[in-house]
Amino acid sequence: MTGVAGTIEAEKSRDIRKRWLLSLPALLIILIAATGPLLIVLVYSFLTPGPYGDVQWLPSPDGWISVVMEKDIFDGTFSLADAHVSIFIRSVVLSLATTVLTLLVGFPTAYFIATRPEKTRELWLFLITIPFWTNLLIRTFAILEIIRNEGLINGLMLKFGLISKPVQMLFTDGAILTGMAYVYLPLMVLPLYASMEKLDFRLVEAGYDLYATPFKVLRKIIIPLVKPGVVAGSILVFIPALGAYVTPSILGGGKNLMLGNLIELQFGQGRNWPLGSALSITLMLIVMVALLVYVRNAGSQGSRHG
């Protein structure tokens, strides 16, 4: 190795060392206050619940078994925990429904924004961004005020004599779905817009030139081209929806629980930290699977388009 080459090697390793030092604070903070504690959750999921919360340092598989099974307090046999299973199913179904609903509304909206002239586009985008930045709690609260028994909808219907007593909308799965679709809609529109903004409308022109109808252009040209945006938006909505806590706890009440609320319950009144830990890790695993699907989708997209 000549002198010059040696200098380059030394400089390269110095550069990489500098880059590690620079990223150290961020990595440390995240390790201590985000990622590291996840490992403790894993440990806790295999321990025995303490009498007043927390854990006793006795290994036990009960936390994991209780995720889907119920132990009979009399004979110690296990049976399927219907309550937990129905919460799992409700969480997944409601999250999927939220994703589909936001996609159905978000797609035309993003398309609308992307096809505005340069000047007004900024304004429309701004209007989508404001709710994205405003407190999720406040937005949920706003929905609550609309659908409460004393809320706007019931108030108006009563006033015009359409109904004689308020329709119970709050504390239903429908209320949770409405609220989640409302609060997560900007998360769908923004990535959709990002990929539509890059859409080359000469391709659309080519489609029309080759006798496609507007609907066929949408189906055969626009949707395939903005698919990365559709996938990204769906993931961005599905993941927080699955772990949602605020929206279902305000709009779903105490009965219509989702996974997030079930987990919270174990750390509150339930006083079963190992079960809560096991549920948390289960939730995380479901999310990981969803992310893997996304990465694989994004990967194949990348290889197909260059």
Binding site: T2, G3, V4, A5, T7, I8
Partner: protein, 366 residues
């Protein structure tokens, strides 16, 4: 006393990648660039000319070899220590600074006194005729003006060598012509060595004191424009610079520097042989299109070749003719200057003769 070369490249190689992906952008290249000359690195894209320039600037370090600046090896010196400045292809003007701040940046970084910087910036603004726009942001001026600012910025610290990386490629034709003259003027006024990178052979021929033609990481020929054009060292240079006709033949006799070459399509032609070249047997003869004219085929005494006129292309200043020679394969190009009010003498499909000017043919080193 022989003057020290401004820049001397000695056996420099730059290899990118490793193992089977290794690729030599610059391949064991040596060249000397003299003081105060306008030196051009010419070649097609990917030939290594920009890499060589970046090696001199210090943005890349050579895998092996030496780069000498006024006799000092600078191959491992970081760019901010080299008294060499660059005019970038994209200009790379700092968007958050004014024109004057851009020009003064190098001097500020060198820690020069404020007054000196101010004077020097004023002088530079004057040199590139941009006094009126000193306070403008660089995003508020035209492409040609940005080009001038980039030049002034690189010249302000009075570098030993100025590197120019295809600086004119972003300008339109007319502006490019003006800037070519402007660059020559600046080089003459400042007396700084210019190393200019371009893929445009016309630009290289009109501006340079000397040209190095590059291909695949190697320098094929160094010489002044006339040498490069009239006496191309090999087939690549002959083909890359200007248009060229290649004819195959066999040497039958040698008289001094002139060879008699028997060709299938043109009979016997006299061709100049390069000085240090021992030519014998099969050779290639090169002929420039402007050194041949069309003649009526019924005057065999004047015409060395005959063929069918396949294509006539009008270029304004001249007309190009593509003639399919009698062997049915070779397409010969020739070029005639247009005269006022003269219509084409021959039309497509005509059988024509081709007359070669004396000393037009040259034997190529194979």
């Amino acid at each position: 006393m022989a003057e020290l070369n401004a820049v001397e490249i000695r056996h420099v190689s730059k290899i990118f990648g490793f193992g089977e992906f290794a690729f030599a952008a610059v391949d064991d290249t040596s060249v000397s660039i003299r003081q105060n000359e306008f030196f051009t690195l010419l070649g097609p894209s990917g030939c290594g000319k920009t890499t060589l320039l970046r090696l001199i600037a210090g943005f890349e370090y050579p895998t092996s070899g030496e780069i000498m600046l006024n006799g000092e090896d600078i191959a491992a010196m970081p760019p901010f220590k080299r008294p060499i400045n660059t005019v970038f292809q994209s200009y790379a003007l700092f968007p958050h600074m004014t024109v004057a701040e851009n020009i003064g940046f190098g001097l500020t970084m060198l820690g020069k006194p404020k007054q000196e910087i101010r004077d020097r910036v004023d002088a530079m603004l004057k040199l590139v005729r941009m006094e009126a726009l000193a306070g403008r942001r660089t995003s508020q001026i035209s492409g040609g003006q940005q080009q001038r600012v980039a030049l002034a910025r690189a010249l302000a610290p009075q570098p030993k060598v100025l590197l120019l990386d295809e600086p004119l490629s972003a300008l339109d034709y007319k502006l490019r012509k003006d800037m070519q003259i402007e660059l020559k003027r600046l080089q003459a006024e400042t007396g700084i060595t210019f190393i200019f990178v371009t893929h445009d052979q016309e630009e290289a021929l009109t501006m340079s004191d000397r040209i190095a033609v590059m291909s695949s990481g190697k320098i094929l020929q160094v010489g002044n424009p006339r040498e490069i054009y009239d006496a191309p060292a090999d087939r690549f240079v002959a083909d890359f610079i200007g248009e060229t006709n290649f004819l195959k033949g066999r040497i039958s006799a040698m008289n001094g520097g002139i060879a008699d070459v028997d060709t299938a399509v043109a009979g016997r032609i006299s061709a100049t042989v390069p000085l240090d070249f021992q030519a014998s047997g099969e050779v290639t003869v090169v002929l420039r299109p402007e050194h041949a004219t069309l003649c009526p085929p019924n005057q065999p005494a004047a015409c060395q070749m005959t063929g069918t006129l396949e294509n006539v292309v009008y270029f304004g200043t001249d007309t190009h003719y593509h003639v399919r020679l009698s062997d049915g394969e070779t397409l010969f190009t020739l070029r005639e200057q247009n005269k006022p009010l003269q219509s084409a003498r021959f039309g497509q499909g005509d059988t024509v003769g081709i007359a070669l000017e004396a000393n037009a043919a040259r034997v190529l080193r194979n």
